[in-house]
Amino acid sequence: TIGMVVIHKMGNIAAGTSTNGIKFKIPGRIGDSPIPGSGAYADDMVGAAAATGDGDILMRFVPSYQAVEYMRRGENPTTACEKVISRIQKYFPKFFGAVICANVTGSYGAACNKLSTFTQFQFMVYNPLKSEPTEEKVDCI
């Protein structure tokens, strides 16, 4: 799955997702990716977020919307992402998932749920401070 957030230099924000879902799904199953607020969410007044992982769990928590709302309340992107992961962890400690967050100023962050097979999450960043798309990673919590 790819989840993407773009903030234009004029402040316009867009977000999106594309995926072929999970392997061997029951036909008809739709994951979190095409659900606004779940797979991704954007609001020019605040920022945007996108999620990836087990969509059957993620969509129950509308994590991208929740991350944007945390940022609206003043949290920085990293903290907003971490709070979303923590919220899901309380109910599903072993869920597979990660979230990327960015605010309208161009600050960004990410968070993921730590599993034995998933300890770091890699994501891509490109802004004028970088000469090319740059891979970054965070330690899962």
């Binding site: 799955t1 790819i2 989840g3 993407m4 957030v5 773009v6 903030i7 234009h8 230099k9 316009n12 924000i13 867009a14 977000a15 999106g16 997702t17 594309s18 995926t19 072929n20 879902g21 999970i22 392997k23 061997f24 799904k25 029951i26 036909p27 199953r29 739709i30 990716s33 095409p34 659900i35 606004p36 797979g39 991704a40 969410y41 020019d44 945007a48 996108a50 999620a51 990836t52 992982g53 087990d54 969509g55 769990i57 599903f92 072993k94 597979f96 990660a98 990327i100 100023t105 161009g106 600050s107 890699q122 994501f123 891509m124 960043v125 490109y126 802004n127 004028p128 798309p133 891979e135």
Partner: protein
């Protein structure tokens, strides 16, 4: 504080990031950039989890989900369970641009896509067919059924509900594959 413009995407899909950046550099909007970045991943089948030829369902078919959201207008276009159309994010953009709906799904979404000029084509590949064949050979393991007969942890379907439902309390099974995800 960061710098604008900003492209941020999940997983190390560098070509998608670059495509989005180039779109902005060419004068495109944030929406254009998201569409371009996601479409690049669909074409390049990013790690097998995006686009055609990946994640076959129980019947061996690849279906696609995509969504695009405009944070200025709060307009959204999305498709779920899209069948036989490769450019899912493109169809989602058409839902945003040419309808007042938010999410179209399944065969009807395919019909919508065709009406918008997208080509109806098979999304399976040798890779996805092999994945499916291997899964069948493993007695359809893993799968996402529970509380059915025959026992879904041992046998393939078709499944049906038992006469008496024994609630097992299982709300979540560990991911079937580390890299099978949305």
């Amino acid at each position: 504080f960061g710098q604008l413009p900003l492209i941020l995407n999940t997983w190390p899909f560098k070509n998608a990031t670059m495509a989005a950046w180039k779109m902005l550099a060419a004068g495109g909007s944030a929406l254009d950039a998201v569409e371009s970045g996601c479409a690049t991943c669909e074409q390049q089948q990013c790690d097998g989890s995006v686009g055609f030829g990946g994640s076959p369902d129980e019947s061996g078919e690849t279906t696609l989900d995509a969504m695009i959201m405009d944070g200025t207008t709060m307009n959204v276009g999305a498709v779920g369970d899209l069948r036989r159309i490769k450019n899912a994010i493109g169809v989602a953009r058409k839902v945003l641009e040419h309808t007042t709906h938010t999410l179209l799904a399944g065969e009807a979404a395919t019909k919508f896509a065709e009406s918008m000029g997208f080509i109806n084509e098979d999304l399976s590949t040798n890779v996805s067919q092999a994945l499916h064949s291997d899964w069948l050979a493993r007695n359809c393991q893993p799968n996402y059924w529970k509380n059915v007969i025959p026992d879904s942890s041992k046998y393939c379907g078709p499944y049906k509900p038992p006469t008496i439902l024994k609630r097992d309390g299982i709300a979540y099974k560990d991911p079937a594959h580390s890299y099978s995800h949305d």
